[in-house]
């Protein structure tokens, strides 16, 4: 790990240099309010070099009486959303960033001048004039707008999409999120780590395990806690089970979004089989409560056989789904070349995970880690960047996950599955997990009492939504649902 603490004046140049050297987008950029302890705020910026599996951090101090920092978003676009977030939540000004729109605290709901993540914020005195929202209009002869949401036709999270179209093709898509903002990062503060796991598991319901695991890893890294080998394997098995049930759900979603309902029904049968397996293994269909600080729950007698037998049936159904989808000319016609996100745009936006790998960005946090490295983990990368590429990544990852789980079940190490932390200590660290959608990142700082002083969460959806708004350009509005499903992003994970 590279860890640089620099003066505010050197913050920007250091970030630019690391960005250039690592070729990494901004992985995290966030503030921490330490006015009480240190008399000011800290800004942290993280990059990740996939080749060396190395994290690089830049940290700088902002005095309370001069709460501004130099924006890096003009040079590194992937910093933009993070800078807007810092301004919105802490009231720290990124100098030179032209985009001051809020992300989560909607203008027509929340007055100016209240910054929830400052430690002295209380919600009793929030009042004042409220503003209005404008999506920004596209003008010209024959241009029309199609506003959709926040309440959608399907059973799905809330978001507002405003399409500007000229004839059939979309020429602009404004996505407004924040409708599921619940203030999770604030709620996590002043909790003891073991009290906070349940909340982390409820940030994004479809990634309960990845979020719980990333949080636990952050705490374990602070405490320097070693995880027993058996727990490492079991955690990886659970993580891949989460990937499998979400991938099959998304694959079915893509089929239904082009009106191909038969394979979609088959996918929901497979998803149900996987969730039923989850429940038998962990007592939760969403694998909630499967991980704990220092380890995870153990399997019961007969569970290993259950996993192998279930996966056999599941893969038989999956192969049928795959044949149905890839063998249908009309389906392939709908997904091939639809919703392209090219590599350059994906890189600039910092798109990662499934969507990134479908656009040629070969980053997967599972690579070169145990137990993946021992089992010859194969990273799936495609270069086309269209709906089909994202579908193929998910189909291939589903097969790879199934292979890995079966291999691990057969060579599961013995011994304990938990190494309970003896004593909490102050400190900060990162937890990083490749969830099914992409990298789930938790940075946690514990105070002297062992309570959470700051927890920054980055769900991959946060970075990938902008990718969707570029991918749909020049596509027709009726193809939006399948483009959207191919990215399969979380509202609640983004909104926090």
């Amino acid at each position: 790990m590279i860890y640089l603490e620099v003066k505010p004046a050197e913050f920007k140049s250091t970030c630019l240099k690391l960005h250039q050297e690592t070729g990494s987008p901004v992985m995290m950029l966030f503030a921490d309010d330490e006015r009480q302890e240190q008399g000011g705020y800290f800004i942290y910026c993280a990059f990740f070099s996939a080749q060396g599996r190395q994290w690089s951090w830049v940290k700088t101090f902002l005095a309370e009486n001069n709460p501004v920092f130099e924006s890096i978003a003009k040079e590194i676009y992937s910093a933009n959303l993070f800078e807007r977030e810092i301004k919105e939540m802490f009231g720290l000004e990124p100098l030179g960033n032209p985009d001051s729109r809020r992300l989560r605290l909607h203008d027509e709901v929340w007055p100016e001048g209240f910054f929830p993540l400052r430690h002295d914020f209380t919600n009793f005195n929030v009042s004042g004039a409220i503003g209005e929202y404008s999506a920004g209009q596209v003008e010209g002869e024959g241009v029309f707008e199609v506003p959709v949401g926040p309440v959608h036709a399907g059973i799905i999270g809330p978001g507002h999409f405003c399409f500007s179209a000229a004839g059939e093709p979309i020429i602009k898509l404004s996505i407004r999120l924040g409708f599921t903002h619940r203030g999770v990062e604030k709620l996590l503060e002043n909790k003891l780590p073991h009290e906070a796991i349940a909340l982390a598991e409820r940030v994004a319901g479809d990634s309960s395990l990845a979020h719980g695991l990333a949080f636990c890893q952050a705490i374990e890294n602070i405490l320097g806690l070693n995880i027993p080998p058996r727990a490492l394997y079991l955690r990886a098995i659970f993580l891949e089970l989460e990937r499998m049930y979400n991938h099959i759900s998304g694959i079915g979603g893509m089929a239904i979004d082009v009106g191909f309902s038969f394979p979609a029904a088959l996918c929901s049968i497979v998803k149900e089989a996987l969730q039923a397996l989850n429940e038998k293994l962990t007592a939760s269909r969403f694998l909630k409560g499967a991980v704990a600080l220092g380890g995870c729950r153990d399997l019961k007698d007969g569970d290993q056989k259950l996993i192998i037998d279930s996966l056999k049936n599941i893969m038989a159904d999956f192969n049928e789904v795959k044949k149905l989808l890839l063998g249908s000319v009309s389906f392939m016609d709908r997904v091939d070349t639809t919703g392209r996100l090219n590599r350059e745009n994906a890189e600039n936006l910092g798109v990662l995970g499934v969507a990134g790998r479908a656009s040629g960005i070969a980053v997967d946090l599972r690579e070169k880690t145990s137990p993946y490295i021992e089992s010859g983990f194969k990273m799936i990368v495609r270069n086309e960047g269209d709906v089909l590429a994202r579908l193929m990544v998910r189909l291939d990852e589903f097969e790879e996950s199934s292979r890995l789980i079966q291999e691990w079940v057969n060579k599961l190490p013995g011994g304990e599955t938990i190494n309970r932390p003896l004593k909490l200590v102050a400190g900060s660290a990162l937890g990083a997990v490749e969830g099914w959608r992409g990298p789930v990142l938790y940075w946690v700082r514990l105070n002297n009492e062992g309570k959470i002083a700051r927890c920054k969460i980055v769900d991959p959806s946060f970075r990938n939504w902008t990718g969707l708004s570029l991918a749909v350009l020049e596509n027709i509005i009726p193809d939006f649902p399948v483009c959207n499903k191919s990215f399969d992003l979380s509202y609640s994970g983004t909104d926090l």
């Binding site: 989560r104 605290l105 909607h106 027509e108 709901v109 929340w110 929830p116 914020f121 919600n123 929030v126 926040p150 309440v151 036709a153 399907g154 059973i155 799905i156 999270g157 809330p158 924040g178 409708f179 599921t180 903002h181 619940r182 203030g183 999770v184 604030k186 709620l187 349940a198 909340l199 409820r202 940030v203 994004a204 319901g205 479809d206 309960s208 759900s249 038969f262 029904a265 929901s268 049968i269 998803k271 149900e272 969730q275 269909r285 969403f286 909630k288 049928e320 063998g327 979380s490 509202y491 609640s492 909104d495």
Partner: protein, 170 residues
């Protein structure tokens, strides 16, 4: 063999995948309910779902309840795309401040008679998000709620049970 013949063959081989409801009276309750729904809602009950800030797990389970495995539709209950077509509003999430207006407008857009169902622990009182600066601590403070389905999230089978039990009582 052409694709269609192959599909039909596979379907026949697979048989019916729908699970029987594992409870003593529920299948008969379902039939009773069918009668009740036919009478009260003119043959079927239509539900509009609104997410006011859930983590998405509740949505996942509602969708599962309509999958071939649980097949909620067999009892005459279905989910519709517009509040204009709905008899009931099914609300998940602790109600983020950003969703208050959309929730009220969705309710207002429904024709009477109408009623509200909440689903999931956070829709009742905020659940794990209770006390946050940005949630309204449940749906009850905004709309009149007739039925609550507890769980975090409730399983598909529980969703069906609660709906059937409620409808047969009323």
């Amino acid at each position: 063999m052409n694709t269609l013949t192959k599909l039909i063959k596979n379907r026949l081989k697979k048989g019916i995948v729908t699970r029987p409801i594992p409870s003593l009276e529920l299948e008969s309750l379902g039939q009773e309910l069918d009668q009740a729904i036919k009478k009260r809602f003119k043959r079927s009950l239509h539900i509009r779902e609104v997410d006011t800030g859930s983590c998405g797990a509740c949505e996942s389970e509602i969708i599962a309840a309509t999958s071939p495995i649980y097949d909620l539709q067999r009892f005459g209950i279905s989910f519709v795309a517009s509040p204009r077509h709905a008899d009931a509003l099914l609300v998940t999430g602790p109600v983020s401040k950003n969703m208050v207006l959309a929730l009220k407008k969705t309710y207002e857009a429904m024709p009477s008679p109408k009623f509200v169902i909440t689903l999931g622990d956070c829709a009742l009182d905020g659940g794990v998000f209770k006390g946050s600066y940005y949630v309204e601590n449940g749906v009850g403070s905004i709309l009149p709620v007739s039925l609550h389905i507890p769980g975090c999230p409730p399983k598909p089978i529980e969703i069906i049970k609660y709906l059937l039990a409620f409808l047969s009582d009323h």
